[in-house]
């Protein structure tokens, strides 16, 4: 097994696609930090003064809009919600916690996509070139062959995830130090937990891509299929939300559980018609523990099915 692992590690890090995706991910990570620096940069005193002026200027017209809204038969409470607030003009400076979370989200998305593609291509290339048949005539025990390839896909994805997260969080630490001072680089425990969870998702993405490619015997087909699944999930989610009787099934959709895992929890709501005829809002919530269990089970099933298929597959 260790020989197989060494050979697969050697192959993973010798592939051009790996280096190309790593470079692309690094470039995207840099862009992502740049984008965060633009969006979350604290306002300068001059900008704050101008924003205050703008806020004051719209007050009279806002009062007029409020009156018109009420005159149209809406409640005063609803109408006030539609008016701009002062925070729309003068933002509070970002906290380090916010920046770490935004960075985790951004780095996670980049690394997830890159890991999915590299890992899918890692096994897909073997089917495409036919070299899997050659490999199996040297090592016919398929379970260790599968395990070594899957393990390397996991390790490679982890490396990719760590590099991208390290770059983004490094950039964010520099930004935060500049904006908030060295003392501001604290109090981001939940953000760091989110970084850890997105790293796990990156690894899961790699394993998922590997499994899809191994199941279908190609790289492109599963990626295209995955896109189709996302569209279907969006449609199913929308449909479930509009049918109150089955709306609770929303918590069983994988994308919602993935969001719950990444963000620590996830919630949505739907409306149910009460006997009185009024609509009652029902809140659905997925907690971190439930999402973790759900995703772990889903991944285990996918790996088990792929292994079963791999061991029974007729290789041409």
């Amino acid at each position: 097994m260790s020989n197989l692992l060494k050979a697969e590690v050697n192959r993973w890090f010798s592939r051009r696609l790996w280096w190309a995706m790593l470079l692309a991910a690094v470039a995207l990570a840099g862009l992502s930090v740049l984008s965060i620096s633009q969006v979350y940069a604290p306002q300068t005193p001059a900008e704050i003064a101008q924003a205050e002026k703008d806020w004051q200027n719209i007050q009279s017209s806002a009062q007029q809009d409020l009156q018109e809204c009420i005159d149209d038969g809406n409640s005063a409470e609803d109408c006030r919600e539609m008016l701009p607030s002062r925070s729309n003009f003068i933002r509070d400076p970002p906290t380090y916690q916010t920046l770490v979370e935004v960075g985790a989200q951004s780095a996670g998305q980049i690394a997830q996509l890159a890991a999915l593609i590299v890992a899918a291509s890692f096994i897909g290339a073997e089917f495409k070139s036919g070299s899997l048949a050659t490999w199996l005539t040297y090592v016919p025990r398929r379970v260790p062959v599968f395990a070594s390839k899957a393990l390397v896909a996991v390790l490679g994805s982890a490396v990719l995830g760590v590099v991208v997260h390290a770059l983004v969080q490094g950039g964010i630490a520099l930004l935060a130090a500049n904006w908030l001072g060295a003392a501001g680089l604290t109090g981001a425990t939940e953000g760091w937990q989110m970084v850890g969870r997105t790293l796990v998702v990156v690894v899961g993405s790699g394993l998922f891509g590997f499994c899809l490619a191994a199941l279908f015997g190609s790289t492109i087909a599963p990626l295209a299929g995955l896109l189709g699944v996302f569209v279907v999930l969006m449609l199913v989610g929308g449909l479930l939300q509009s049918v109150p009787v089955v709306a609770w099934l929303i918590v069983l959709l994988p994308d919602n559980n993935l969001n719950a895992y990444i963000y620590g929890s996830w919630q949505t709501s739907y409306y149910e018609r009460a006997a009185s005829g009024s609509d009652i809002e029902r809140v659905l919530r997925i907690e971190l523990g439930q999402a973790s269990l759900y995703l772990a089970c889903l991944m285990a099933v996918i790996v088990a099915v792929t292994l079963w298929r791999f061991t029974r597959r007729e290789v041409r």
């Binding site: 197989l4 192959r11 070139s129 048949a133 005539t137 090592v139 290789v315």
Partner: protein, 321 residues
């Protein structure tokens, strides 16, 4: 060494494989003796590659038993795989990796010292291009790299599936020499081909299959000696000559402007043909004994079916039904 010293290199009995309703291999039986070149012959689509794939565990058989060096496969394939080197159909490696890199990965995977990679590349004369990407190799170079890959393990049995497909005459000649020299060095070489005459030149023993079934098997010399060779005769008045020979109890059939003369009970002496025709004033312009080759044997077998050819040394391996 083998736990079964008396066992042949390969023994297959009653092998069957179907793809939905298509029967690819049907009750196939084959024995490959230790050492020498064994030809596994049959036309395209006769089930040769499918059989080899099943033998190597790449496909599952529906029925039948297979053994490598006496060990049942695929059950005990991992135990004997290091004694077997194989190229199934075309050599298949990673296109973007160099020949050396491809072999290094294989060597690493089976714990063969990396130093052996250079040695086998040298052995097949590929050292100069070892650093080039596999995708840039000519077909002949790809074949040589595949042979080098099989030699990494220093195997006792080498399996080559249609190894000369796409090679130029020089490449075919080189490959034949390679196979012969491997066999002469004490290895067993199993080579499948649809070009029967080509393998006849190097094979010691053969198995001939058609439509997934074994048609004949045994030493090449025995198979070809099993039946009488027809006498080919060219005369001006072929119709009258045929009538004269038939009247003398000989079988005659026209073939490409000549007559092929044979007798069910044995060899026809050319002198007898010459005398019979000469006595009738029919003068022969060509007279030769047509030595049969595996291709003709195959055509004869497929025309009549194996069980109807008792004179063709129809051989079934031990243990076969």
């Amino acid at each position: 060494m083998s736990d079964h010293p008396q066992s042949p290199a390969v023994r297959i009995v009653g092998l069957r494989k179907t793809y939905r309703s298509i029967v690819a291999v049907d009750d196939l039986t084959m024995t490959v003796p230790l050492r020498g070149v064994h030809g596994f012959l049959g036309p395209n689509g006769s089930g040769k590659t499918t059989t080899i794939r099943m033998l190597l565990g790449l496909m599952r058989a529906d029925q039948g038993t297979m053994e490598l060096f006496g060990e049942p496969v695929p059950g005990r394939l991992p135990e004997v795989i290091n004694r077997v080197g194989a190229i199934v159909e075309q050599p298949r490696f990673f296109e973007n990796f160099s020949g050396r890199k491809n072999l290094a990965l294989l060597a690493q995977g089976i714990a063969v010292p990396i130093s052996r990679v250079g040695a086998v590349l040298e052995q097949v004369g590929l050292s100069d291009r070892a650093g080039s990407a596999f995708g840039t190799y000519s077909l002949g170079m790809k074949q040589r790299l595949a042979v080098a890959a099989t030699l990494l393990k220093d195997p006792e049995l080498l399996i080559f599936d249609e190894p000369t497909n796409g090679l130029d005459p020089q490449g075919i000649h080189e490959f034949r020499s390679t196979m012969r020299s491997l066999a002469d060095a004490g290895r067993t070489v199993l080579v499948s081909s649809h070009i029967l005459a080509e393998v006849q030149q190097i094979a010691d023993t053969v198995t001939i299959i058609g439509r997934g079934r074994t048609l004949a098997e045994g030493p090449v010399a025995s198979l070809l000696a099993g039946a009488a060779d027809p006498v080919r005769v060219v005369v001006d008045d072929a119709d009258r000559a045929a009538a004269v020979l038939r009247a003398a109890g000989l079988d005659v059939r026209p073939h490409e402007g000549a007559l092929l003369v044979s007798r069910a009970s044995g060899q026809v002496p050319p002198a007898e043909v010459s005398r019979l025709l000469g006595e009738q004033g029919l003068w022969i312009s060509e007279l030769t004994v047509q030595r049969r080759n595996l291709e003709e044997l195959y055509l004869q077998l497929t025309e009549a079916g194996p069980t109807q050819q008792p004179d063709l040394h129809w051989a079934r391996p031990e243990g076969a039904a």
